[in-house]
């Protein structure tokens, strides 16, 4: 509940003081989701859909469209084609502004307008439950001893997971082996089965395995420890995990925002309208419940605060891409 309270105060500080709502959607609103059915972004969008329906926050109905092709690029290309259409919302993560840097795609950030960010997913270093590495430092030392010998599994290639692993390498001067799989669940099982040494999964991707003691967290990439929770395994809960920066990996914070966008050219009133609706969503008890169950950090962001966040997040990632030679010209 504490995370939620922080989210509330932050939301209040970026209060949107728009005029009386002039905009109303004129037809069913399309929720375009940059992932396949069942993915993290899909659950994010469908949870919002159900909350809006339940609390009647919008008069029009909503239709969810999954466009997960090309790691989600399909959804944003669709935005480019529907420039100025105020009846379509796009759901993604930081992939919206990072994809064009690593793949040759026919869209750029100019084709999208940010509406809100509603939650931030944490990243942790996980190792197998009976692993010899009990601290992040031990893992780093092992990688220093045998460069390219310690394997990390992650979802997709050149996506958030591999970027974080590359960031760890750059910060600590080590070299890991990175094995890309299809999704967080698969990555969790690869670790539980002992096929890799570690992964950087989000909390809800590994919680099941942690409950069983098949994997254990070493540290979280956040400036402060996560919200306290009931113990998950062996008397330890989310709040007991040390931050990575305190454990010797100097990465103060690495989070993935859950974002909502409209296409470029959408009128200001429409953007304001949707960010108001989403703000109300973020204040419902159902949303708090979703945040708690998925162990994310609830934090509502819109307007200038969101713009600033995107600019700095993009800059950091591009720095990593450049050092790894992933940038496409």
């Amino acid at each position: 509940m504490k995370a939620f309270a922080i989210g509330m105060t932050l939301a209040a500080s970026v209060a949107l003081t728009g005029p009386a709502m002039a905009f109303e959607p004129t037809r069913p609103v399309e929720f375009v989701v940059a992932s396949g059915p069942g993915g993290g972004t899909d659950n994010f969008a469908r949870t919002i859909q159900s909350i809006i329906t339940k609390h009647k926050l919008m008069d029009q109905s909503m239709v969810v469209l999954n466009k997960g092709g090309g790691s989600g690029a399909e959804a944003f290309l669709y935005a480019r084609k529907n420039e100025g259409d105020p009846n379509k919302l796009y759901f993604g993560t930081n992939n919206a502004y990072l994809l064009p840097h690593v793949a040759k795609l026919a869209y750029s950030m100019e084709d999208l307008r940010p509406v809100s960010a509603l939650a931030f997913d944490e990243f942790l270093i996980w190792v197998k439950g009976d692993s010899e590495y009990t601290t992040p430092a031990a893992l780093i030392d092992a990688a220093k001893a045998t460069p390219n010998g310690v394997a990390f599994a992650g979802s997709q290639s050149k996506d958030t997971d591999e970027t974080l692993v590359a960031l760890i390498e750059q910060t600590t001067g080590t070299k890991f082996k990175y094995l890309p799989f299809n999704g967080g669940g698969e990555v969790g099982v690869q670790l539980a089965g002992g096929h890799v040494a570690a992964n950087v999964n989000n909390p809800n991707e590994n919680i099941g395995q942690w409950q069983a003691g098949a994997v254990k967290p070493l540290c979280v990439f956040s400036d402060k420890p996560m919200a306290k929770s009931d113990p998950v395994h062996d008397g330890k809960g989310w709040g007991d995990i040390p931050t990575c920066s305190s454990a010797g990996i100097n990465i103060p914070s690495y989070k993935m925002p859950r974002t909502v966008w409209t296409a470029a050219g959408t009128p200001d009133e429409a953007v304001t309208y949707y960010s108001e609706v989403l703000k109300k969503v973020s204040e419902t008890p159902e949303w708090a419940e979703y945040i708690r169950k998925t162990s994310q950090t609830g934090e509502y962001m819109a307007g200038q605060a969101l713009q600033d966040f995107i600019v700095s997040s993009e800059k950091n990632a591009v720095g990593v891409f450049e050092a790894e030679g992933w940038l496409v010209k």
């Binding site: 037809r27 069913p28 399309e30 239709v63 469209l65």
Partner: protein, 164 residues
């Protein structure tokens, strides 16, 4: 000239070889060698493309060889004139259907297509044929858009009528 099976065998093989060549050349720019972390992204499509070219060429050679050996099968007519007419009478409306659907949306396309086939090929009265088309389109609308909330492709006419 009568189109023999041999001709179609050769044309198909050449088309497939061209597809293989397209794949292989497309893969070239991705890198087709074996790096220290296993195959590069173009490796697999490149060699599959090459195999396709070889296999297609072999199938053409086999057809020519069997022709040389006097195989009756290769001399057979691919499609009798009557069959060609029937296939085209079915295929061409389908092509027009796809074009109309692309520009005017699924419902207009489907209605016109069902109407045309029932009227011209089926010999039904135009009015009945049109009713079949309209009834089916309405059924599609209710099953897909209403019951399962799957939006189908729409065009300017639906826009005018205010159907989303």
């Amino acid at each position: 000239m009568r189109i023999k099976r041999l001709h179609v065998e050769i044309a198909t093989a050449l088309t497939l070889a061209a597809v293989g060549a397209l794949g292989s050349t497309g893969a070239l720019e991705l890198g087709v060698s074996w790096s220290e972390s296993g195959p590069m992204p173009g490796y697999f499509p490149f060699y599959v493309g090459i195999i396709l070219i070889i296999a297609a060429t072999a199938s053409m050679a086999q057809a020519l060889f069997r022709m040389r050996m006097g195989s009756a099968e290769m001399r057979e007519t691919f499609l009798e004139p009557e069959q060609t007419r029937r296939v085209l009478s079915f295929l061409l409306p389908m092509v027009v259907f796809v074009i109309i659907t692309t520009f005017l949306g699924t419902y207009v396309g489907t209605t016109l297509y069902l109407f045309y086939v029932a009227w011209r090929n089926g010999g039904y009265k135009p009015l009945i044929a049109l009713l079949v088309g309209i009834a089916f389109s309405i059924a599609l609308y209710f099953v897909f858009e209403k019951a399962f909330q799957v939006p189908l492709h729409k065009g300017p006419i639906e826009e005018m009528l205010g159907i989303y």
